[in-house]
């Protein structure tokens, strides 16, 4: 792990920042530092992670359900834990302000949700192409019309093609650990890409959960912009003349090849993040009982509902395994093929109308008739474990009792 820091970062380990926090080796911080438990909302957990993340610039904008977290980071700024903080004028501007700060060599943090994510969209492929390791928390909410603020993960579907790293947290604990770990992975010179750490709005942001926290007086080493694979825009390194003619103006093979190879390189950088991510968060997926005939494959809070469903099924003597997809980009193709190889039925519960995870799995797994894309809920509907159980039993041809209160 030590070699995942630069010389400049290593030299700061053990020294203190102006708040008296000790810059701590990330390996020690994540795995060995003493932990204390707290009972926090997801928004408070975001704040506590950022307190320890040595963030230089945060740009904020209100949108439910991330407004509280974004405002709490403002408190950290007032206390001196974040060097600069501003409210942008729109999510499009916010993501450009984040880009400007990252171009200038800052460690950057932002949060958004639903319509905010969609408003900002032009920025995301630009962040990727510019190799800016910005961390963006996405607390997913509906993007449909009529207006909805309810939990719904449809926006993640659009993010999948941007080239960003995309992690999907299930719990507040995931969130706490991953926010800190995301910077270490995203800032590796052979990765150096933006990362979206997503969660299901309200379910994670607005409910309290027990989380174990690292000490408040220890923080990540600061970002070292001189490890970037492209020059930091601070005039501290020679201003190279990048090209004779901008490629945008040339309709020739060299121009096409340059664009194509850079796109391939950014995708390859995303793939290269595996080798840092796997030890960091213990694999791109997590599995339980994958020898069972029936499997639930899910991400985010759908995993929690899946666990609950598995418990109910177990009481009825039906054995069902679980795959939690933690990382969506890079896509855990081999891991998923291996984990699902014994399954006869693969259920994919999701909090969105299109079932994008099921689509991804259908494209990736052999014998994809095994995949049952459901149950889906959307627009803020909850997904009681019984609904998952019902879907499974119906598919298996078993009789199901009508669920109380589900209409007739």
């Amino acid at each position: 792990m030590a070699n995942e820091l630069s010389e400049a970062q290593r030299s700061l380990i053990g020294t203190k920042n102006k708040k008296g926090q000790v810059y701590t080796d990330p390996y020690y911080l994540f795995n060995e530092a003493p932990r204390t438990t707290a009972f926090y909302t997801g928004s408070e957990v975001i704040k506590e992670a950022i307190r320890r993340a040595s963030v230089d610039v945060m740009v904020a904008y209100p949108i439910t359900p991330q407004s509280e977290a974004a405002a709490l980071i403002g408190e950290l700024y007032a206390e001196g834990y974040v060097a600069d903080y501003m409210r942008g004028e729109s999510e499009f501007a916010v993501m450009s302000q984040c880009a400007g700060a990252a171009f200038g060599g800052a460690r950057v943090f932002t949060t958004t949700a639903g319509p905010g994510t969609m408003r900002a969209f032009e920025n995301f492929p630009m962040w990727v192409g510019s190799r800016l390791p910005i961390q963006m928390i996405v607390t997913c909410r509906g993007i449909n019309s009529p207006l909805s603020i309810q939990p719904d993960t449809l926006e993640m579907y659009f993010l999948l093609g941007t080239g960003m790293l995309i992690w999907h947290a299930e719990t507040a604990q995931d969130f706490y650990d991953w926010i800190l770990k995301a910077y270490i992975v995203a800032e590796q010179p052979d990765v150096h890409l933006p990362i979206a750490v997503c969660c299901d709005g309200f379910f994670v942001t607005h409910t309290k959960d027990t989380v174990s926290l690292t000490p408040p007086d220890m923080c990540l080493p600061p970002y070292d912009p001189y490890r970037s694979p492209v020059p930091c825009m601070d005039m501290e390194v020679p201003p190279v003349r990048m090209m004779r003619d901008p490629f945008v103006m040339k309709s020739n093979y060299i121009s096409y090849l340059t664009h194509a190879s850079w796109q391939e390189e950014t995708r390859a950088a995303c793939e290269r993040s595996r080798k840092h991510t796997i030890p960091m968060i213990d694999g791109l997926i997590e599995t339980e009982n994958t020898d069972a005939d029936i499997l639930i494959v899910a991400s985010g809070t759908a995993v929690s509902q899946g666990r609950e469903a598995i418990r109910i099924l177990e009481d009825e003597g039906i054995r069902c395994g679980l795959v939690k997809v933690k990382v969506l980009r890079p896509f855990p193709l081999e891991e998923l093929r291996e984990a699902t190889k014994n399954a006869k039925y693969i259920f994919v519960p999701e909090f969105n109308v299109i079932g994008w995870l099921a689509q991804e799995l259908k494209a990736a797994l052999p014998d994809n008739h095994r995949i049952i894309d459901g149950p889906h809920v959307a627009g803020g509907m909850t997904m009681p474990a019984e609904v998952v159980v019902e879907e499974i039993k119906k598919t298996l041809g078993m009789t199901v009792a009508t669920l109380a209160g589900r209409g007739s």
């Binding site: 060097a83 450009s96 302000q97 400007g100 200038g104 020059p231």
Partner: protein, 293 residues
């Protein structure tokens, strides 16, 4: 950055392109009284350009780059448009990201540089077209001024969308017939200098690039004031000779014609009392330094 940072390792000297060797040996980084008169006597910070022959944007670029008070610590922010064809040839760090978001990029950039270099001057200069500044990016242009972000915004006003082939822009004159204004533009040229003043810019100038002395002065004022006093805005007429049907030799005359009294690019300047005082004090302290032994 210091000039040592662009120095070439002796072993590689002979394989470096001559343009880069010239930059190391004959550029004006760090020269205190650098200005447009260095053009022709030293290595310019612009290498070539792929603009149309005779496009006034090219001479505007040369004057501006020659006049930056502190190029070794200046980062420029561009936008999509004809200017984005030039930036890859420019020897100061510059960012192109998207079309119209230049003042948002500059806001984040300036803040990052202030966090990282609290005791040094790092100038941020935006240079974008009128479409970028006034139409698609207007909210970000104005909001950066409202927030008093400390950088200079320069708009190359060619009164149309040049790079996409001459469509109507907000800075186009009323009545002008263009693509997407097939019966003539129906509303007045947006009065951005006035809006800039109302939005909190401490120094606003509208001019052409017909007079290099003048360009040098306003560029220096704008950048120096943006360091300490507040946001500054320059709107510079750089006619798109291609789209208004002029020959490559006619750009200068077009600028001269349009800056005559009563014409739309007659020199216009607005400066706050605070900014005036700041410049006067700076001038006085320079004179003092000259008098002192």
């Amino acid at each position: 950055m210091s000039k040592e940072k662009i120095a070439i390792c002796p072993e590689f000297y002979d394989i470096m392109p001559p343009e880069y060797r010239d930059l190391v040996e004959q550029s004006t980084y760090g020269k205190e009284d650098r200005g447009w008169k260095d053009i022709g006597q030293s290595k310019e910070l612009i290498e070539e350009h792929s603009l149309c022959a005779g496009c006034p944007e090219s001479i505007a670029f040369r004057y501006i780059l020659a006049s930056l008070p502190n190029p070794e610590d200046t980062v420029m922010v561009g936008s999509t448009g004809c200017t984005s064809l030039v930036f890859p040839h420019v020897a100061v760090h510059n960012i192109h990201s998207l079309f119209g978001n230049q003042n948002a990029i500059a806001s984040g950039l300036k803040r990052a540089l202030s966090v990282r270099f609290p005791n040094r001057i790092k100038d941020v200069v935006v240079l974008a077209g009128d479409g970028a500044t006034v139409d698609i990016g207007l909210d970000m242009t104005l909001q950066a001024w409202f927030r008093q972000e400390k950088f200079t915004t320069i708009c190359f006003d060619n009164e149309l969308y040049a790079n996409t082939g001459g469509q109507e822009s907000g800075l186009m004159q009323k009545g002008f017939v263009a693509k997407m204004a097939p019966v003539g533009k129906k509303f007045e040229k947006v009065n951005l200098p006035e809006i800039a003043r109302e939005s909190g810019c401490c120094y606003v100038v509208m001019c052409t690039v017909s007079k290099p002395n003048l360009v040098e002065k306003v560029i220096k004022n704008a950048i120096i004031l943006a360091r300490e006093v507040g946001p500054t805005y320059l709107q510079i007429y750089t006619p798109c000779i291609l789209e208004i049907g002029k020959d490559s030799m006619e750009g200068l005359q077009e600028m001269r014609d349009s800056e005559r009294p009563g014409e739309r690019f007659k020199y216009k300047e607005y400066i706050t009392d605070e900014a005036k005082k700041y410049l006067a004090e700076l001038e006085a302290s320079k004179k003092e330094a000259l008098v002192a032994p």
